[in-house]
Symmetry: C2
Subunit: 432 residues, 2 copies
Amino acid sequence: MSNKIKVGMLGIGNVGRGTYQALEMNHDKIAETTGLDIEIVKILNRRPQIDRGIDIPKDKYTADVDEILCDPEIDIVVELIGGIEPATEYMARALSNGKSVITANKAAIAANGKKLAALAQENHVLLRFEAAVAGGIPILTSLTTALLSNRFTGVHGILNGTTNYILTQMSEYGKSYEEALKDAQIKGFAEADPTADVEGFDAANKLSILISLIFGVDASPEVIPTHGITSVGINDIEFASDYGFRIKLLASAREKDGKVYGNVEPVLLPLSHPLASVSNEFNAVFVSGNAVDDLMFYGRGAGPLPTGSAVLGDIIGVARKIEKDSAYDIVPQLRYDSGLEFAGEGANKYYIRMMVPERTGILGKISTIFGEHGISVETVRQNSPYECSGETVADLIFIVFKVEKSELLSALEEVREAGVIKSIDSIMRVEE
Amino acid sequence: MSNKIKVGMLGIGNVGRGTYQALEMNHDKIAETTGLDIEIVKILNRRPQIDRGIDIPKDKYTADVDEILCDPEIDIVVELIGGIEPATEYMARALSNGKSVITANKAAIAANGKKLAALAQENHVLLRFEAAVAGGIPILTSLTTALLSNRFTGVHGILNGTTNYILTQMSEYGKSYEEALKDAQIKGFAEADPTADVEGFDAANKLSILISLIFGVDASPEVIPTHGITSVGINDIEFASDYGFRIKLLASAREKDGKVYGNVEPVLLPLSHPLASVSNEFNAVFVSGNAVDDLMFYGRGAGPLPTGSAVLGDIIGVARKIEKDSAYDIVPQLRYDSGLEFAGEGANKYYIRMMVPERTGILGKISTIFGEHGISVETVRQNSPYECSGETVADLIFIVFKVEKSELLSALEEVREAGVIKSIDSIMRVEE
């Protein structure tokens, strides 16, 4: 009774290897449970001489993408090349040829998901990308099936394992950013060029996909305010900890009065928040729905096998539809039709750290300027003075009540111009 | 383009009300996203005079179950009466009449799921019960879709909000069991007769369902070793905390060497375990798969709207299949065909608390008996002596390395017979 499903795979890097291995390990269990006999029949691999640490019959390899995209026997194309091009072009061609497409490629989906989803719909095939957000965590499937009964009010995610590892190491072992980054690189959690991770671009791609699924709004990564973790100092981590917070790179979006606000940035999370205890390379997504209330999903956001689990889950889902001849479905598709609007960062509570000379009257001056801009101070604290470039200085920390970021920045500009401070070293949102 | 789906609902208690409300709130969003126009057209309600705190047109009510089970217009029957009978009978009749069935009834599914699933299959309709385990948390859907690519090695759940609330209150505020229970009753987290919750029966029903889905084994609630929380003392909670543990009522199962082990009981969980920080009425399920590794789902395991979210999610899932005329599917169905065997509790680390008279030589005697039974002691600690019934006594706490429960019990029987102790007050598994 088993139905043969033939899969062609583009690329055999980490995720490709994990997908292949997950299928090797679990093929028989999947066949028993679903009646599906899934086989990866061809793999685009332009460097077959490289040892992948996994036993793949050499005759599955091809260097010619058309042998996969144009093979009428292949039902599903799995794109695991990464990067926007040529991945997008290959996916578009596969969809046009009537093949369903599965990908783990957040950059390509964030950039071209709308176009690819329309192409899938036109060709009555499926486009799935569970692995593109939070690795093995089944967040997209849940949002588009069991949780579809909700209107979502917010989503908050720790979506990048590299930065979460670095921040955890800084916070738990007092390591500097540089030490923690080096450590992450040695452990394989960070790449040689860590820019996409540490600057928040990777998280912004994932947030863009989540915003589209949850709110039905187009917020391409370029319009999402994105700040990485490179400016987070050990100072900030210590102060945050004293105030009962942990600093996390948070990708978040929420709906209010018909607008969607969101950004990617390091924030101060109260220790009582379930996301505050998500450590090291783990990912988690916290969603709030108007019926289900708060939910959190926690797991491995990267790694060959966990990501492979998500890719293979999508393969099974699509294969089932093919088997039942109901391949044309709407789940999980991106949406851009909710009538909501993406409006940037919105009003928030903020944490500000500045360096000031040791002199009286400075706090009064700053508070006056804040007051003129309608900014109320919740907490202020001055640290013990220390020497910096031959001058005695101190760190002055503020937590201010809700304010638009633009208003805060213009107040801080005025503070700077008043010449009473040395520098503004950190501005971070405080999550409530 | 909207497809009308007519739903008949049996019962309008808490979950029924939540389901009705969730649909009222989100009907239009669901219609926009899926093209489905879902309507609850009839509700079995034998006491229509009771105010449900929700505005339901009176003409939807019927006191005659056949008006729902035999109405050819109704596509889906939602069973929310609770209890094993007549709920099972009604579900069986609905399935036989070619209607898909959705239920939140863990007791009926744990007792009769096998029979009902077979009936659904025979009649080419669907049986879904996401709401039966962990309320709004989409665990069953995830296990049977996105995570189907895994072989599962274990599942651990905090599946009962009442007991988790009680244990949290005891641990955080030093309340006694009786105080915490009373408090839970006042807040509506515990029923007037709390037996099913505090004795672990509710959690055992849910674990039975999870075991069938995850391992494909029949472990009916009667064969699952089940211990409630009534014997957990404030002593145990304090000692556990000193050792770096938190006590939780855990429903767990794991596979080892072709056998499935599992039970429901209060256990000592290390503070570093993600389940240790699940507090109060929240639920969480922790699963381990051979590809995805560790995953945790956290959310509200009860309450009208969260549970209604899960019921409505199932309604949408089934409605989509009806719309595509592919109603006959295998997800999520119970399985009893994996060839594995349920083998009870298995070997574990244990925590034992006993009361001893203040006298030397007792520890030597107990250790000798333990040794004769092949039981190794990891930690032993004696508390400061105190007076009890005119005698000076002390609490003696052991944590012992992995041992079969039956072996441990026979050793403890020998200790008891040796007459060197006053009583054995607590035996709990230590989770690693």
